[in-house]
Symmetry: C2
């Protein structure tokens, strides 16, 4: 009950902001409000998240587990009554994890908990042993001369803090995204980073790293946050530090992956398609509950509520994208195959399962009232209608970057980077009450967007 | 500041209880209060906990890491100015961890995070594969006929909840302490338990298991709590479940371990010795910050504050016991070697680093005023002086069971079993403010006990 009071208070504060931005207040549509409130009792999103994480578990892109997840999703979406359920395949390069061990050997011998980053090179099976050079930040590593790094294992730390909007991932994440490539260019024999995470558990955060063309891949791993802090304390003692590292991942060549699609057909083919997305693949360490089983649960549940309320004007197309984590292969393949269709708006749920706290949009001028009606419909469940851009998630990003309208329902990311890409991304981390608020927000948004009488054309002033 | 108000409120409520129990209120001694309050600024306990966990890390009993910890402790206690610092060795059987993997193979193939229990037998190197039989509690397993278990892997779950006093460990822990022995007797090929823990992280809780004489040891492991919940959900589907299990630990024979001792010599040899203990060894998965690096930090810091305030009447002897986790080999060896000495009171810190919330004692009638003065000195820092027995920790338990007086300073265990015996038992889990409150409580207790003019004789009405 406290939560509801808080949400109501947030809504009361939020509304005037939206209203002033839109110059006059918009009253929520009664039918939309009724659908939204009914969706607050949703069970579909939990059913999908629980089922996918339990019956499939981890589903690394391009593996047979991801293939089982596609079959599972086709069966589930068919059972729910969606139309045109199917799989669209593509091939992609597949990297798989091997053994992973590390230990400080000097001056204080002890094991370290770490995990290989996606695309990491392998060490010899017996591992390597080398001096470690410590940088408190990625910027400090970049500023260091090559002779401080050559022949050594680079250790880069950071001081990432939790934030509601997840800002910080782009900045602190650079050490993971491109750090090993730069370390390799400076002659490092391997790189370990403090996990790009905000927790304090011995559960390291994996994630992809990318080696620039022509750069020799090196072994690259993330230490759990407590292990990275331990290594920092060891460096504080001022003595030379050496460590062993054994990583035996491998690139296995090209394998099949695929997207799963389904539809709620609209009554007006000329009105265009609303494309809503999540991703079906997960990293291999956890069961992908918050990243992104819950996202698939949320969008499919919302589409189900709209379908059951009667045929919408616009077709709602569900995309459970494959292979997002390892390079957005599914989203990119989907864009190439479908960019010629009349997709008028995109939106994605891929930031956990905690509540929606903000909505932003990029819409053509003619459709700005649609955005105002969405914001009005979301305010009663504690969502701020805010200025600011919208980008879609990774899997619909190509559409957004090419002029398709976007609505972003921003999820609370305060604890997202406690769990992101770790073994700890499991079902117990999903709060059923917040999951339902997501479904209610998506149901309200879809009710407005799919039935809007306005034309939703391309955004000609796209960034 | 809020904490201080809460503590003051707790003290205000607590005092009358103690007072009524003792029939008249006791005013805290001013010198004791001054020592206690000065100890609220303690840095020694953190210094020891940080140093031991960083410079040694995990220190499994009977290994060279535990030997390094002994040398570290001798150097530290000597540097702090204690007298008669030394090591007393003994031999003990040593079990060491090997590879550990598990996976559901049917009906939903996926890996499981688990860790071997101490004394677990090994599987063949290639592992075993068998049907799993599920029991929601240890009691249900015990009630099951052998033919439901024979040839299978037994999975026993539980619903342990966090409690302030740690009650529940004895009850729920039975599945770990003796479960595998009974499962072996019923013909199980292996046993997996839900970790005896209250967290929801992929960090399984190890701990010793004991096979009764004549019972063939079987492979035995703890699943992390999220993995156990996952396996329960798999069983809810009603299909036969099979899993693989690979554990390659081994018994390595007899090895040397040892206790580290140090003293603050008292002025009156006739007044007897106050023996305060912690344990120096840790399980191998974490760095043993809360179990029991902090305990060693707390007792040594408190003894240091007493020593620096002037020579006490009674000798305070510090025991950093070895090999507690794996069978109290250090405590038992210490008792055998020193049971003839005039040890008049024992106390141990071995329940984490969170604040002391209750004090209980078992004292001879002649020394009951000592207990009342201790309770009075602790009330202002939020400690309830309560009725109820005192047992000492494991390492001084033999003294307590043989008539030596005991004072227990009970630590708040609400989050202890989130961390206990897991990889997550690391320094970051220690709250420096609560650690200092422990030191203050121990300093006050020692100030009263070591200087009490009363005779502290044996407890003739011992349980």
């Amino acid at each position: 009950m406290t939560r509801h009071l808080l949400l109501a208070a947030a809504a009361a504060i939020a509304l005037p902001v939206t209203a002033s931005a839109q110059s006059m207040p918009t009253v929520p549509d009664a039918e939309v409000s009724a659908l939204r409130d009914a969706a607050m009792q949703d069970e579909y999103a939990w059913d999908i998240t629980e089922g996918l994480t339990t019956e499939i578990g981890p589903r690394l892109a391009g593996t047979e587990a991801e293939a089982r997840a596609r079959d599972w999703a086709v069966a589930k979406l068919t059972e729910m009554g969606f139309s045109n359920v199917g799989i669209e395949t593509y091939d992609m390069p597949v990297w798989v994890r091997g053994e992973e061990h590390g230990a400080i050997t000097t001056p204080f011998p002890q094991p370290l908990t770490l995990t290989a980053l996606g695309n990491s090179a392998a060490t010899p099976p017996e591992g390597i042993e080398a001096e470690v050079v410590y940088f408190a930040s990625f910027a400090e590593m970049m500023a260091a001369p090559a002779d401080a790094i050559e022949g050594k294992i680079v250790f880069v730390s950071h001081d990432m803090q939790p934030t509601q909007d997840g800002s910080g991932y782009g900045n602190y994440g650079a050490a993971r995204f491109v750090g090993p490539s730069f370390a390799s260019q400076k002659g490092a024999v391997a790189m370990v980073i403090k996990s790009i995470g905000t927790d304090n558990h011995r559960t390291p955060h994996t994630g992809g790293t990318n080696f620039a063309q022509g750069v020799e891949p090196i072994p690259a791993a993330a230490l759990s946050v407590p292990d990275a802090e331990q290594l920092e304390r060891v460096f504080e003692r001022g003595q030379p530090v050496r460590m062993t590292l054994t990583l035996t991942p491998r690139q296995t060549g090209m394998h099949e992956s695929g997207n799963v699609v389904a539809e709620v057909p609209g009554s007006d083919p000329e009105a265009g398609i609303v494309l809503i997305a999540c991703h079906l693949d997960s990293w291999d360490l956890g069961t992908g509950a918050i990243d992104d089983g819950a996202g698939c649960g949320i969008i499919a549940a919302a589409a189900k509520h709209i379908m059951d309320a009667g045929q919408p004007r616009r077709t709602i197309r569900i995309l459970f994208a494959g292979a997002e984590e390892v390079g957005v292969f599914g989203g990119d393949a989907y864009y190439e195959a479908h960019k010629g269709e009349k997709i008028v708006l995109v939106s994605e749920s891929d930031f956990g399962a905690d509540r929606v706290w903000k909505v932003t949009s990029v819409l053509p001028e003619s459709a700005e009232p649609v955005g105002a009606r969405v914001a009005a419909a979301l305010a009663p469940i504690g969502v701020v209608g805010a200025q600011g851009s919208a980008h879609g998630g990774a899997d619909v990003g190509m559409f957004a970057r090419n002029g398709v309208a976007v609505i972003d329902l921003h999820q609370d990311g305060t604890r997202y980077f406690d769990l992101h890409h770790t073994p700890d991304d499991t079902l117990d981390k999903v709060d059923p009450e917040q999951l339902r608020q997501n479904v209610a927000a998506w149901t309200a948004m879809l009710a407005v967007v799919a039935n809007a009488p306005e034309e939703i054309g391309p955004v000609t002033h796209a960034e």
